[in-house]
């Protein structure tokens, strides 16, 4: 009796320490977000007078408005809106195409293997680990030759090429655990190559598709290097525009506007995580355990 009660007391202390630590970590991680949100809702005067950590005295949404549609980005005072639209126009097709092609590659590599398919997969994997900087110049030349230089489709192409390696890896490992007998049964039932893909494999690929979409979306949305290298003024993605906004050397540094812009740039990925995050962990587990 006494032994068990002392054990539970010890347990309680351990738990108290644990939760305190967790709470501290939580505060530590959330502090930057707090600073960003709080300062994006203050007039500039409050920030410059030294109150970075304090709550806003006068609540204002003007910095958000300014960052969205009025602030000076580069040479024009358009706000971040056009660049946000650029980013959306880039990220949606790039994610959709790279996921779909990755699924198709995974399907072929696992269910229709051919001579050299393992080597091909190895090369695709290798492509995942090539540093971005190495391809900048050859890619610029390629885009020039294809007539896609400095355009949103050009950026889509670049991200598609870079995304296929990872999306193929995900889907190949997922489909490796997918029973081949199902494919054979469908063959006997009279389904062709693409019918089997559309009707049998894709509908069962939910978890891994979510993983792939989150991964690709985050990477492509947050990419700065390709965006800065391969875009013109009218095709710059959000990340590059945010940089231009923050780095602009004329006039006063509007920190509150910068904070608002930075949050805007981060919101879409945050949203994707909140909507699909629980599938993310589940899908990663499925891929790793079975694959």
């Amino acid at each position: 009796m006494s032994a068990s009660s002392s054990a539970s007391t010890g347990n309680g202390i351990a738990r108290f320490i644990l939760y305190t630590l967790l709470a501290l970590f939580c505060v530590y991680y959330l502090l930057p977000l707090y600073v960003m949100v709080v300062n994006s809702l203050k007039p500039l005067s409050e920030i410059t007078s030294g109150g970075m950590m304090s709550l806003p005295e006068t609540l204002t949404f003007a910095p958000w408005q300014s960052a969205w549609s009025q602030a000076q980005v580069g040479v024009e005072a358009t706000g971040l809106r056009p660049y946000f639209i650029n980013s959306i126009q880039m990220v949606v097709p790039a994610v959709a195409l790279s996921t779909l092609l990755g699924a198709l590659n995974g399907y072929v590599l696992t269910k229709w293997p051919f001579r050299g398919s393992t080597i091909l997969f190895g090369l695709l994997l290798f492509g995942c680990f090539i540093p971005f900087q190495i391809v900048l110049i050859p890619m610029a030349r390629m885009l020039g030759l294809m007539g896609l230089a400095g355009s949103v489709p050009g950026l889509i192409f670049v991200h598609l090429v870079y995304g296929i390696g990872f999306s193929t890896l995900y889907f190949r490992n997922y489909y490796a655990a997918f029973p081949t007998e199902l494919v054979r049964a469908a063959q006997i039932d009279g389904a062709g190559f693409f019918t089997i893909f559309w009707r049998i494999l894709l509908p069962s690929s939910g978890p891994i598709a979510v993983v792939c979409i989150i991964w690709q979306f985050t990477n492509i949305w947050n990419d700065f290097l390709f965006g800065a290298s391969f875009s013109d003024f009218d095709s710059q993605p959000m990340t590059v525009a945010l940089n231009n906004l923050v780095q602009s050397s004329t006039g006063v540094k509007e920190y509150n506007v910068h904070f608002a812009g930075a949050i805007m740039a981060a919101l879409p990925t945050l949203l994707v995580y909140i909507v699909a995050g629980r599938y993310f962990v589940r899908g990663l587990m499925a891929g790793s355990v079975k694959g």
């Binding site: 054979r184 039932d189 009279g190």
Partner: protein
Amino acid sequence: MGFLDIKNATKSYGAVKVLHETNISIEEGEFLVLVGPSGCGKSTLLNMIAGLEDITSGEIAIKGRSMNGVKPAERNIAMVFQSYALYPNMTVKGNISFGMEMHGMPKEQREPRIAQVADLLQISHLLDRKPGQLSGGQRQRVAMGRALVREPDVFLFDEPLSNLDAKLRVDMRTEIKKLHQKLGTTIVYVTHDQIEALTLSTRIAVMFGGYVQQLGTPKEIYDDPANMFVAGFMGSPSMNLFPAKIVASANGSAAEVALHGGQTAQIPFANGAMSAHQGREIILGLRPEAITDKDGADRNSQSVHIVECPVEVTEPAGSDTFVVTQIGGKDVTGRFRADVNVKAGETFPFAFNMEKAVVFDPKTEDRIR
């Protein structure tokens, strides 16, 4: 020419030949079972009939039409897989109708056939469920329904019962047999279970090492095995195979065997058989039911011989008692009546029914007739 003809079919993966020249021909409505241990080439042969594997050489024809190079979908076959291979994202109904849909059959024609098959297999109440919500036996039925609804020329079964538990397996076995009798379809069925092979088939091909060892009716395979592999593989408990020597005896010839403890005994063959082989070392094969106690022996047999043998082990199995002795250094099991009074360690009269005896060459392992 039969309904399904396999002529000199072979299969190689690179330099490895997994299926040697195979010739099988069956008539419409036959139930052919391909049986053998794993790696014997039986599933490969089935996949070749299905068109899922190419034929390296030779020909497979269904209804007189060569199937070489014909796609699986165009062979008018249906297949039931070991894992059932039900499409996980579709309902039972979707699974059953998928094949018809792929063959472009309009919806109004599909519906009555689905209903008919569901009724036949008693799965009507499951039509709207997903495969994940079904038990093993129900999945098995759905898999059969998917095959049946196509009304194919040939049904292919790839170890369909091996994922079921023991009781369900026996039930489904009976069900498959009933279905075959009712529908009279041609079936090719792969299994490694020799009891399934014997109970279901009208013909059995026993396979080993990429060769068909013997093709015949269940009775031929059981009573008249072509070699020691077939003799040992088919039947449970398996056939007793022990060394003996053929010697001359009063009415022809006899098998001289070494009993446990150094004694020898002579067991005469029936009707002067084996007279041409006197002096030869052989392997004698007798099934457990041909070695009994005296009163349990087959009364119709003209050639039952009693030999006193030392009993090593008795294994009461309810309906029978299996009694083990040693002959020629091998354990030999006899199937005695359940209530026979026999104890391990004593000597007991064993009745050998030599009409059932089969003789093999110890080196080639082939039958000596």
